[in-house]
Symmetry: C2
Subunit: 214 residues, 2 copies
DNA sequence: TTTTGTGAATTGCTTCACAGCA
DNA sequence: TGCTGTGAAGCAATTCACAAAA
């Protein structure tokens, strides 16, 4: 049945956006929301919103809309963020420091519990964050990942090191990698990699600006 | 005719990836590349690659493939990065510092020529980067954008300030904004906004890991 | 009324498969 | 032979439009 059908990737992306918006609504005290309202907040059609939310089965209430609190719980369950993920951060440079100190991660259920770097001058220093973490050498990566309950890794390392570090992570049993090095990494079976290239986003912006002027 | 047709969004996204890969090929001295090779490097089918590259009209050479150097030029021209964009960075926190010092931006044609922050203790300090820039108060944003030739802005500010800053940027004549605050910003006509939410990427990763285990 | 859920229609993207060129 | 370019086919996502529920 519909329950076990794979959720389309565009829908999953939007689920994250719905969740963010619903959490904003909750802060303002809103209890229910219609597909029309939600769609307007996110620049989507109401039909799109309803189709997306139909992955949960019947959850909306005709004439009323969707209960904010209920939807938040359901979306988190689908996304797998109804729990806390322990995350390893590799790379204690500027980008790494930005991640470690970003409050949004912990409120979303991602807890950076270990930080690694190859630079000896950084090892032993403290990364400020949800709970501050001492920077460890990359050589301790495998052992630490195995010891603590770490499933995800954020890679904020130079391109030249990225594949080697990713391989180490996957060998150590990491299930998912969020890679910020500007290259597509080879992925081992049983693991998942999402590549985020910040320069690519600027290029897309450049294109859209040119397109608008055309 | 085909020339003036809009390029599909998925194709534009992939053009950035082709460009990155082609620049890697160039470094290794490769002169030509087939759609099959390029596809394998990026996990795409050869047909997909050819369809995408067909936006340029006839550029491939049957029996030979595509000339690396030529393709790089063509893609940059389409993306609008065959020139240097002056970019304003708003927010001199950890994330802002990461952008300012990221070498990838300048090699792609994005030059951070001004940095702004609301925090008085940051103003007057120097942000290290391609050419180091002194942090200015946000009050000088409009004047500086008008004075220098600044078309794009990167927003690395708290959610609470993001919309106000974006409005100021657009009023000052900015054409494109890359927003890292975790909310969708309202956009003025004639401007473009791309929203990048780092926590959303982690959620997508979480989902994919759960899915894989299912 | 308002608003959901959903088949049907539509639009858009990807893959196939092959003619044509080097 | 090796490879491109592209119609045609196939598949996926979005939008439409309306019956049903509150």
């Amino acid at each position: 049945m519909a329950k076990s059908d794979a959720i389309p990737a565009p829908t999953v992306r939007r689920l994250s956006l719905y969740l963010r918006q619903l959490e904003l609504y909750r802060e303002t005290g809103l209890r229910t929301v219609s597909s029309k309202q939600l769609g307007e907040s996110l620049q989507l059609t109401d039909a799109q919103v309803r189709k997306d939310l139909a992955v949960f089965g019947h959850l909306g209430h005709p004439g009323i809309g969707y209960r904010v609190e209920e939807m938040i719980g359901r979306i988190r369950r689908i996304l797998g963020t109804d729990r806390v993920w322990n995350v390893a951060l590799v790379g204690a440079g500027n980008l790494g420091r930005a991640f470690a100190s970003y409050r949004g991660f912990i409120t979303k259920g991602f807890n950076i519990t270990a930080v690694f770097d190859a630079d000896p001058s950084k090892i032993g220093t403290v990364m400020p964050g949800a709970d501050p973490v001492v920077v460890q050498p990359v050589s301790e990566l495998a052992a630490t990942i195995g010891l603590r309950n770490i499933d995800l890794a954020i890679l904020a390392v130079p391109m030249s090191d990225a594949q080697a570090i990713a391989d180490q992570c996957m060998q150590a049993g990491i299930s998912g990698i969020l890679n910020f090095a500007p290259m597509a990494l080879r992925v081992a079976p049983g693991a998942t990699i999402i590549n985020v290239d910040l320069a690519v986003h600027l290029e897309q912006l450049s294109f859209r600006v040119c397109e608008l002027r055309r």
